[in-house]
């Protein structure tokens, strides 16, 4: 069994994240990298609109935070997922936990609760 070669930008970043039930939880917007005594380890994934906006630029981050607050997200922030929650990666990143445990999809939950589920027939 030879070592697996993963190019992070090409094979991990910007992939869709699915929870243990296959439900979408956003994209891999950023990665957490721990530098320690000359070694570097990827310790987690970062996702969510705030994480995305931060990667684009500070101005975008400010705008996105305002929009999220307007929609009803109380404390918009990037969602960190530790690497141990990653089950495997193919065309997407598959987690071994349920979406609710991760805190991803906060925006969707808020929009669903405040707007969509109030409409008749939702």
């Amino acid at each position: 069994m030879s070592a697996q070669r993963i190019e992070l930008g090409r094979h991990v970043l910007d992939k869709e994240i699915h929870d243990v039930h296959g439900r979408p939880c956003g994209k891999v917007d950023d990665l957490l990298i721990e530098l320690d005594a000359g070694d570097a380890h990827v310790v987690g994934l970062v996702t969510g609109p705030t994480a995305f906006a931060r990667a684009i630029g500070p101005r975008c981050a400010a705008v996105v935070a305002v929009v999220e607050r307007l929609l009803g997200v109380k404390d918009p922030r990037p969602v960190d997922l530790t690497w141990s929650t990653v089950e495997y990666i193919d065309v997407g990143v598959h987690l071994n936990v349920a979406e609710e445990e991760t805190g991803a999809n906060e925006l969707a939950r808020v929009v669903s609760r405040r707007f969509i589920s109030r409409l008749p027939g939702a």
Binding site: E7, G26, K27, Y88, S112
Partner: protein, 454 residues
């Protein structure tokens, strides 16, 4: 177990019963063994499904002919006689090639186009097609909603546009929310077949078919020197044939309806050729009736008048019904397509199949698009003028959408054996090159012609 992320590993089985395979697999969790090649969706080959084929054809006709197509084609015939007929050929070829490609990407990677585009280009580069597409999508939605209102006013002139526009938008929103989307889209496409009236009108008007055929294959310089207005009209036509939302809609619809490759291909071809016929008819009837009178197309009535002069009040009724239905169908498609694009880019749940509360951001996205579109439509902008400008902008945005699609369709990591063949690449590159020229030309032309206000 090694993971090579290139084309060596996970070449999909030759067995044609499986046409959708993941070509990359990285098991990471603590030594758990996971199969190297995972089948996302092992699809059984189905017999020809006539219904699926028919629906695909109808959808393609609806995609090819919409308000943008009706206006730009009629304007082309009225202003330049047959001299822009040749654009139908690259229009049909480009539409068919890229529609098929986008369907194939969805089928073989198991994911919709924009999902793959973001992953392949990264979040920064793929932001360009996202913004271009979303901008054009909203404008197209304005065009189609205004088109529905204009079509209603062809018969019921006493209803004012500012009342009809929000009413149409509201009706569409309620239908989108409550009615099965396929039913909605298919009935719109079926009613849109009333546009065949223009083909009948073209036959009745007895144009010199020999000249029509000749104009199809060569730009007619003897008839028309290429002025800025001529080029601008040609660009708008190309944008109308290949309006960007169609490709995303096509691939996402494929994911939702679980089509197969063959049905995809055949329905794209037949539907597009059929749509092309209606387009040719629109140009020809305008050339027969409006061109000799030096009458420009400034309203939807102008566009309808050749059909009316050939077929009388039946022609008017059919044109009205057809124009209304194709606009409604296109409005539904462009709003869904716009929402698909945004959701796929951000990795939000999307689709009409899941319950609404499970994909709230999908519904929110098209709600917002409708609100913006109605506001733009009510701002007092001339809908016909907006149509030509939007179609030119659509052409301008196409290279930013086709380019990434071409990159993905050539990537064996996603496509496996379904990746582009040489012939498809050559044709796709020619169309892309034409569009790049068009893109470079559009901005100065928009300035020179003042948005086609000749």
């Amino acid at each position: 177990m090694s993971v090579r992320c290139g084309n060596l590993q996970g070449a999909p089985p030759r067995d044609r019963t499986q046409n959708s395979t993941v070509h990359l697999h990285i098991p990471v969790a603590n030594g758990k063994s996971v199969p190297v090649t995972a089948s996302v969706k092992a699809e059984r080959r189905r017999p020809w499904r006539i219904s699926a084929l028919a629906l695909g054809v109808l959808a393609s006709v609806g995609g090819f002919v919409d308000m943008g197509g009706i206006i730009t084609s009629s304007q082309a015939g009225a202003s330049f006689h047959y001299a822009l007929l040749w654009t139908v050929v690259p229009g049909i070829v480009g539409f068919a090639v890229y529609a098929e490609m986008s369907g194939r990407i969805a089928l073989s990677s198991g994911r919709a186009t924009f999902d793959v585009v973001r992953e392949r280009l990264g979040k920064h580069l793929s932001l360009i097609p996202l913004v271009a597409l979303t901008f054009v999508n909203v404008l197209t939605l304005v065009v189609e909603i205004s088109g529905m209102a204009l079509a209603v006013r062809l018969g019921l002139r006493f209803l004012p546009q500012p009342v009809l526009v929000p009413l149409m938008a509201l009706v569409l929103l309620v239908l989108l929310w409550r009615v099965n989307f396929e039913l909605l889209d298919n009935s719109a496409a079926l009613l849109g077949l009333a546009m065949v009236a223009t083909v009948v009108a073209a036959v009745v008007l007895r144009p010199p078919w020999h000249d029509v055929a000749a104009a199809m294959v060569r730009p007619s310089p003897d008839e028309m020197t290429p002025t800025a207005d001529y080029l601008f009209a040609g660009i708008s036509l190309l944008g109308a044939y290949m309006t960007p939302y169609q490709f995303e809609f096509y691939s996402s619809g494929m994911r939702e309806q679980e089509e197969d490759v063959r049905t995809n291909w055949v329905s794209a071809i037949i539907g597009t050729v059929f749509g092309g016929l209606i387009t040719i008819a629109l140009i020809v009837v305008a050339a027969q009736v409006l061109y000799p009178q030096h009458q420009q197309v400034q309203t939807l009535e102008d566009a309808a008048s050749p059909t009316v002069s050939a077929l009388g009040s039946t022609g008017l009724a059919l044109f009205m019904l057809g124009a209304f239905a194709v606009s409604a169908g296109a409005a539904v498609e462009v709003s869904l397509s716009g929402a698909y694009t945004v959701c796929q880019y951000f990795g939000w749940g999307w689709g009409k199949k899941p319950r609404s509360r499970e994909v709230p951001l999908f519904h929110l996205t098209y709600f917002v698009m409708f609100v913006v579109a109605v506001l733009v439509a009510l701002s007092g902008i001339d809908p016909i003028r907006l149509t030509t400008v939007t179609m030119a902008l659509a052409a301008l945005s196409l290279p930013f959408i086709f380019g990434p699609m071409l990159i993905v369709a050539n990537d064996p990591d996603y496509m496996g054996e379904q990746r582009n063949k040489l012939a498809a690449n050559v044709v796709a590159m020619i169309i892309l090159a034409l569009l790049v020229v068009v893109t470079v030309a559009t901005i100065p032309l928009l300035v020179i012609t003042g948005g086609g206000s000749s």
